[in-house]
């Protein structure tokens, strides 16, 4: 799995061009996130791609050819910080509540909604951490889940800007 960060022009149709490129060339997107940058003219995307080095090289080169794509960079997990946020609605019977809350506290997650038969848990962290949390909560019954997909940034002063 490879993580690619992109700076793109913040214009209509850009997402379609990028997503279309992946499907057309047979690359598999595992997750894709888009959001604004400090400069409203540009957006930042983080894409995780499944494939070997050859695939990664093709993906990077093909993305670079798109006129609306300003920067493309692979982010190595060893050199960058990565975060994902998930909110999980988990079934919570009376007798399970305290255990769920213990898990939440161990993961430094948060309970952001409480109702008689369920809780909504918010967890932030690397995708491994989110994955581990999801696995543990599964025993109580996950009713619904929303994940943002990964955002990532290189450590240190080096910055990826338009």
């Amino acid at each position: 799995m490879h993580t690619i960060a992109l700076i793109v022009e913040n214009r209509p149709g850009v997402l379609v061009r990028i997503a279309g490129l992946f499907s057309r060339r047979g690359f598999n997107i595992d997750s894709l996130t888009v959001g604004s940058t400090d400069n409203p003219d540009y957006a930042r995307m983080t894409i995780t791609v499944d494939g070997d080095e050859v695939v990664l090289e093709q993906v990077t080169k093909q993305l670079n050819k798109l006129v609306n794509v300003i920067r493309v960079s692979e982010l190595l997990s060893s050199e960058s910080v990565e975060r994902e946020l998930a909110i999980i609605k988990v079934a919570a019977r009376k007798e399970d509540r305290s255990e769920i809350m213990q898990i939440v506290s161990v993961f430094r997650a948060k309970i952001i909604d409480v109702s008689p038969r369920s809780l909504i848990v918010e967890v932030t962290g690397s995708d491994d951490k989110v994955e581990a949390m999801v696995r543990l909560l599964r025993q109580f019954g996950i009713k619904e889940m929303a994940r943002t997909g990964k955002v990532s940034m290189v450590r240190g002063t080096k910055a990826m800007v338009p």
Binding site: G13, R17, G20, Q58, K61, Q62, N64, K65, V67, N68
Partner: protein, 580 residues
């Protein structure tokens, strides 16, 4: 420059880009733009089908090296351009396609003649624009032409909603600011050094040349380099004409219907210098066994092509012409050696050939005759057997003199592209080498040619069948000729005459030269119906998926295939009787 309407700004932008000729067909939303064209200096060629507008713009671009421009209305007009845009995209042809669009207020409402053409064409354009505001017109046109012609060229689409062509703007042609578009033209000197060293070391080098050399105008530098190091040169279909085929170092075309000696040379080579070519499957055959002993140097302006299909040892990103010039400077003069002798031996032993037996005209002979009578002609082709014979049996010597849909393989491309080429190069003799199947796909353009006095010479190699598919059925589907027989309908001479063109026919070998001479001397749009056998095959051939070493010589005519059961149409001899 003052205030003007969007339509006027479009024409002003075209003028600033040096556009003299555009190809198009009007429609409802384009009325304001066509009204402005009415009083403009731009030459507008009215086609009879929008697909032909795109192909004509493409042929114009390939023949002249300038950006081809086409125009079609919203909805069906725009979708009819798509095949032509895709053709240009696959062969990296600089083109700007303009489409009308419903007014911005109606976009997304499924309005009359609305189609999301920017969405439809994303996979087949280098870039595209939907103009939302008239004041963006000058910037967008400037960017579009710049993107279309620089780096690896390609088609750019501009979608023009009706209201945008009516609204007024202050015209200002701005400087280009495209932070995300940086075509990488300058070659890296270290890579050149490494490549030159490899070329000097190699004992059996082959230079494999594609369309990139043509587009960068690098044929002189190629000749210089090849002669310095005595490396034989083979071209792809797109690269034809970049190296003179009468040169002792020429191997002609390689690949599926390439020469045996080009394919043998590739398989024996210890170094391949690929320039402006993309290792297409029709070139490499089975990729795993392509050039098994060779190191590969790949020069391409598009970094994404390097390493896409084959492993590359020395990548060189940059413009083909400058890379070839740098390489020619960096290498030393090499003597003629045993490698050249070996290649020359193959050339002597396995020439392109065909059987001259029988009473029918041989298509290969048609091409050889045209080449003898008119060696400087621009040869445009349709797609299929006609295309391969035109590639093989005309001795190509000049770049931009062979124009053919390679990547997409678009039947119906040749005739409108030939019209575009002739309009771009009126002083040159332009032939469309056609099949009866392909020609019928844009036969309506006879009207465009006649009305605009475009004297294209269409040579129909009329076998009454969809010959290339039939050849595969013959070889690989036990002669089960499913839906490949066209019965030599219609009568092309009468069709030509009906459109006001000159129609000629040759049915016997003895008539061929006279008829071709008449066509060459003709100063009007001319159609020549040349009756050939449906059993004639393109040879040699590397079967799909096989290695280049497995190239086969095919029998040129198989009598068993002419039994009424396996071939529903009349046999060649019956046709001769009927028509002769």
């Amino acid at each position: 420059m003052g205030k003007m309407t969007g339509a006027q700004a479009i024409l002003e932008s075209l003028k600033l880009e040096g556009v003299e000729t555009i190809f198009g067909l009007p429609g409802g939303v384009l009325l304001p733009l066509y009204d402005a064209i009415y009083e403009s200096d731009i030459r507008h060629i009215l086609v009879r089908h929008e697909q032909a507008a795109a192909h004509a713009a493409d042929g114009y671009a390939r023949a002249t090296g300038r950006v081809g421009v086409c125009l079609a209305t919203s909805g069906p007009g725009a979708t009819n351009l798509v095949t032509g845009i895709a053709t240009a995209y696959m062969d990296s042809v600089p083109m700007v396609a303009m489409t009308g669009q419903v007014p911005t207020s109606l976009i997304g409402k499924d309005a009359f003649q609305e189609a999301d053409i920017t969405g439809i064409t994303i996979p087949v354009t280098k870039h595209s624009y939907l103009v939302k505001d008239a004041k963006d017109i000058p910037r967008i046109f400037r960017e579009a032409f710049y993107i279309a012609r620089t780096g690896r060229p390609g088609p750019v689409l501009i979608d023009l909603p009706r209201d945008v062509t009516v609204d007024e703007l202050e015209f200002d042609y701005p400087e280009i600011h495209l932070p995300g578009y940086n075509p990488n033209l300058k070659v890296h000197s270290l890579q050149i050094k490494r490549a030159a060293a490899a070329l000097m070391e190699a004992e059996r080098p082959v230079i494999y040349v594609g369309g990139g050399v043509k587009y960068s105008d690098g044929h002189r530098e190629l000749l210089q380099l090849a002669e310095r190091i005595k490396a034989p040169v083979t071209t792809t279909l797109m690269g034809i004409g970049c190296f003179p085929e009468d040169h002792p170092l020429s191997l002609g075309m390689l690949g599926m219907h390439g020469t045996k000696y080009a394919n043998y040379a590739i398989q024996e080579a210890d170094l391949i210098l690929a320039v402006g070519a993309r290792f297409d499957d029709r070139v490499t055959g089975k990729v795993a066994s392509f050039a098994p002993q060779a190191k590969i140097i790949h020069v391409d302006v598009d970094p994404a092509e390097i390493g896409k299909n084959v492993r590359v040892d020395i990548p060189v990103v940059g413009d083909a012409k400058s890379a070839l010039a740098e390489l020619a400077k960096a290498v030393g003069e090499k003597p003629w050696g045993t490698w050249y002798e070996k290649v020359a031996g193959w050339k002597g032993n396995y020439p392109l050939c065909y059987s001259t037996e029988g009473e029918t005209i041989k298509p290969q002979c048609v091409l050889e005759t045209i080449c003898r009578l008119c060696p400087d002609a621009v040869i445009v082709t349709e797609v299929g057997q006609n295309q391969m014979w035109a590639a093989q049996f005309f001795t190509h010597k000049d770049p931009r003199h062979f124009i053919s849909s390679g990547g997409l393989g678009t039947m119906g491309y040749g005739f409108p592209a030939a019209i575009g080429a002739k309009l771009g190069c009126p002083e040159k003799e332009v032939f469309d080498i056609a099949g009866d199947g392909s020609f019928q796909m844009n036969i309506q353009e006879l009207a465009t040619a006649v009305v605009n006095d475009v004297a294209v010479k269409v040579i129909i190699l009329n076998n009454g069948v969809l010959g290339m598919v039939r050849q595969w059925q013959d070889l690989f589907y036990e002669k089960r000729f499913s839906n490949t027989t066209l019965y030599r309908v219609p009568d092309f001479v009468k069709v030509a005459e009906a459109y006001g063109a000159l129609g000629l026919r040759a049915t016997k070998p003895s008539e061929l030269e006279g008829v071709l001479l008449e066509a060459i001397e003709s100063e009007v749009m001319t159609v020549v119906d040349v009756v050939i056998s449906p059993d004639e095959k393109v040879s040699p051939m590397v079967p799909a998926g096989a290695s280049l070493s497995e190239i086969l010589e095919l029998e040129s005519a198989d009598p068993a295939a002419q039994t009424p059961r396996s071939y529903a149409g009349p046999s060649a001899s019956e046709i001769l009787e009927l028509e002769g």
